[in-house]
Amino acid sequence: MNRRLNTILVQCVSITVAFALGAVVIKMIGISPLFAYGALLNGSFGSINAIGETLVKMTPLILTGLSYAFAARAGLINIGAEGQLYVGGILATLVGSNFAGLPMIIHVPFAVAAAFAGGAVWGGLVGLLKVKFGANEIITTVMLNYIAIYLVSFLVTGPMKAPPGTMPESRPIVDSAQLVRILPGTRLHIGIFIALLALLFYYFFIFKMRQGYEMRVVGNNMESARAAGMRPQRTMVLAMLLAGGMGGLAGGVEILGIQGRLLQSFSPGYGFDGIAVALVGVNNPVGIVLGALLFGFLRAGGNRMQLIAQVPVSVIYVVQGLVITFVIIGQNLHVFQKVGVNRPFRRKTGDGPAPEVL
């Protein structure tokens, strides 16, 4: 219990360090950090609309965070949320921009499901390559990100281009497939509930369902899993399917709730932020919400910082990067204080998720 409190505190310090350094940079470009951070806060919590925006940003972040977390539970590192998000977007658009006239009650779930499926395929592919050919998931996911991004770029300038066909964008999502806005004057849409449901599902699946239990066993000790009669390969593919699905959902809600149609590079890097979100939240449901809150806050407030305080977007990237870096540092500082070595000689066991790289 005490240790948990401690980690939380460390996280806070790390994040503060990041912001402190950010302040220095902002000062360098001749803007008052307090004013800038004022705008940051104001743009993220200052008004109904601001809060709405923060929630809007949190929606995909929660989902991409879950994407990383699902894989991590099975001992896999999924860098591919960005790509899964794009493929989810494609599928959501295909369903959402067609079938006009379907009742919303059917059309929306249909489109969302399609997004999930799209991402799941993109993620499942990684799982298959891993178990069938031992292709390292980190690299394959990185590569599939690029492939997905170019795929979208091809589709919107080619097959899916909206008539008359000058603009690189798909036909719009028909009304019956759009996610309803729930807070007037803001863009907050029911996607947030989809995200929270997904979060709930994650919690329930991982801690209450047998497949989730299998995932944790496989992720922590593959050998024991096999000896107990589990099928690690299946479990890993399932984990990547779900991880991908979550990434796909992120793309789906973004397209159906915000964009209204498929565009080139429509994600501002939600997929990569998701990694940080899960990292900050140590793959724990509550943690993921907090992580998403942090980065949603940065994104929503970041716009405001640029809008009001005229802080260039590049500086906002710096602050974001610093936050991730210092959270990592914070989480690893314990190497300086020797704790938790209760067996003098640790033998190499399959214990603990130590996903090898390359």
Binding site: K208, M209, R210, Q211, Y213, E214, R216, V217, N220, N221, E223, S224, A225, R226, A227, A228, G229, M230, R231, K338, V339, G340, V341, N342, R343, P344, F345, R347, K348, T349, G350, D351, G352
Partner: protein, 505 residues
């Protein structure tokens, strides 16, 4: 007694790890040209002591004196430069590199930034010859046999100018023949005034090879005695802290009908080398069937075939008349198999998960543990509590990660998991390895209970004494073959030793 030249002295060495005192004020000295054995059970503190000597750890208290001068080893490098050569139980060789590369690795030659591997190879070969050893410097270590690898390790140490050789459990992975070769090598080295520290928990070997014996127990030095007419029982007593008789109290066995039956089981590895050859035996109800043999003679494969983790390339394995080959591990578990794996941490438990989660690892998927894919934790908690009490697993709560349990308690947890429902067949390997005497007796008692209850027990071990006293019949394995099946009361340990070395009696 003529005067000895002491080359190494470790004075009052204490090493404290968070939570454990691994070494407690240990005094240890080594004389030129002697073999000084360090005897003790796993976890007695041998490895830690040697870790300190080799610079991996720094002592909390105490000092090391080398040829009269106090020294301090901050790193493995320091120890090596001071002429201390470690040969670890798990060899420290890089499989992908060649023998020569492995030996040259880390040798400081400030004048020569270049490897000049050919020149080095010649040196190595010549050097090895002077100790009557043949090495092929070009070969990749991965392609060598265990014995050869050990030789490389020793040459590696000597080549670095080691005067003191530390052998950590060197025989664990060797066949009796290889052991004899090793021993003659050690003798030859000591004749040339090298000093050897011989770490082992095998009493006979220690008696055979060493001049002096130091016994460690629970991090403390029990005694250092000259190896003149000391008896096994004496040493064993020191090791475990009180006199133990090597016979387990047990009722005469009354075998029922066959439970496990292997017929002509064979298994080959990827290169087609045989791992198991025409293995035949039956294990009956209420019988403990021991399997003896040096590690790595097919015992692991045998267990993997029976538990379905590997499928044999030929033959048949039947449990109560049902063929299990081709069945999945889960199907076999469901046929009433209980499995105590060789390495409880690598294959038995999930250290980072808690006790209840580890307890249900075999049953989590079926009612009443879970209904329609949903685990019913209330039942699991209740069920786990009952059984860990029954099997006396000492823990504050069932929600603590098993990594915090002692080795004994971890093994008890596995027993609780595997034995709480009546298994028809118990397949156990190294079930007592690394446990203290109390825990060992506990494990034995539990297994005997199973035997009494009519379970068929397959008990694989490398500890001959244990097998002799514990099992009703013993099969001896060598190079994947069963050399023979004997009754302990009809043979001597030496006869079995011979069979383990490959000679059929």
């Amino acid at each position: 007694m003529d005067t000895y030249e002491t080359v190494l002295e470790m004075r009052g060495i204490t090493k404290v790890f968070p939570g454990v005192v691994a070494n407690d004020a240990i005094n240890f000295d080594l004389r030129k040209g002697e073999v000084h054995a360090l005897l003790g059970e796993n976890g007695a503190g041998k490895s830690t002591l040697m870790g300190i000597l080799s610079g991996v750890y720094q002592p909390t208290e105490g000092s090391i004196v080398l040829e009269g001068a106090p020294v301090r080893f901050d790193s493995a490098r320091d120890a090596i430069h001071n002429g201390i050569g470690m040969v670890y139980q798990h060899f420290m060789l890089v499989p992908k590199l060649t023998v020569a590369e492995n030996i040259m690795l880390g040798i400081k030659r400030p004048k020569e930034p270049l490897l000049q591997i050919d020149k080095a190879s010649e040196q190595i070969v010549a050097f090895a010859r002077t100790y009557g050893m043949d090495l092929d410097p070009e070969q990749k270590v991965a392609s060598l046999t265990v014995g050869q690898q050990q030789r490389v390790e020793i040459v590696k140490a000597l080549f670095r100018g080691a005067k003191i050789l530390v052998l950590d459990e060197p025989t664990a992975v060797l066949t009796p023949k290889e052991i004899q070769e090793l021993f003659s090598m050690i003798k030859m080295l000591t004749d040339q005034n090298f000093s050897v520290i011989f770490i082992s928990h095998k009493i006979d070997e220690v008696i055979e090879i060493s001049n002096r014996i130091s016994v460690l127990r629970r991090g403390k030095l029990e005694a250092t005695i000259n190896n003149e007419g000391v008896s096994k029982e004496e040493l064993a007593g020191l090791m475990v802290g009180r006199d133990v008789s090597f016979c387990v109290e047990k009722t005469p066995c009354c075998p029922g009908d066959s439970v496990l039956a292997l017929e002509g089981v064979g298994l080959k590895d990827r290169e087609g080398r045989p791992l198991l050859k025409d293995v035949n035996f039956e294990v009956h109800e209420g019988e403990i069937f021991g399997v003896a043999g040096v590690d790595g003679n097919g015992q692991d494969e045998l267990l993997e075939v029976i538990t379905g983790l590997r499928s044999a390339s030929e033959g048949s394995v039947c449990i109560v008349g049902q063929e299990v080959l081709g069945k999945s591990p889960r199907q076999i578990l469901e046929m009433g198999l209980a499995h105590i794996p060789a390495d409880r941490q690598a294959r038995g438990l999930v250290l980072s998960m808690d006790i209840k989660e580890n307890f249900i690892i075999n049953d989590y998927y079926r009612s009443p543990h879970s209904k329609r894919d949903i685990i019913s934790w209330p039942f699991v908690r209740k069920h786990t509590k009952e059984n860990i009490e029954r099997f006396d697993v000492r823990t504050s709560s069932i929600d603590t990660p098993v990594s915090t349990l002692s080795g004994g308690n971890q093994q008890k947890l596995i027993l609780a998991r595997e034995l709480h429902g009546k298994p028809v067949l118990l397949a156990a390997m190294h079930a007592t390895r690394g446990l203290d005497v109390g825990a060992i007796e506990y494990v034995h008692q539990r297994i005997l209970e199973q035997r009494a209850a009519g379970t068929a027990v397959l008990y694989i071990s490398t500890e001959l004494e244990e097998l002799m006293s514990f099992s009703d019949r013993i099969a001896v394995m060598f190079r994947g073959e069963i050399m023979g099946i004997v009754r302990p009361e009809e043979v001597t340990i030496d006869q079995i030793g011979l069979m383990m070395a490959g000679s059929i009696t």
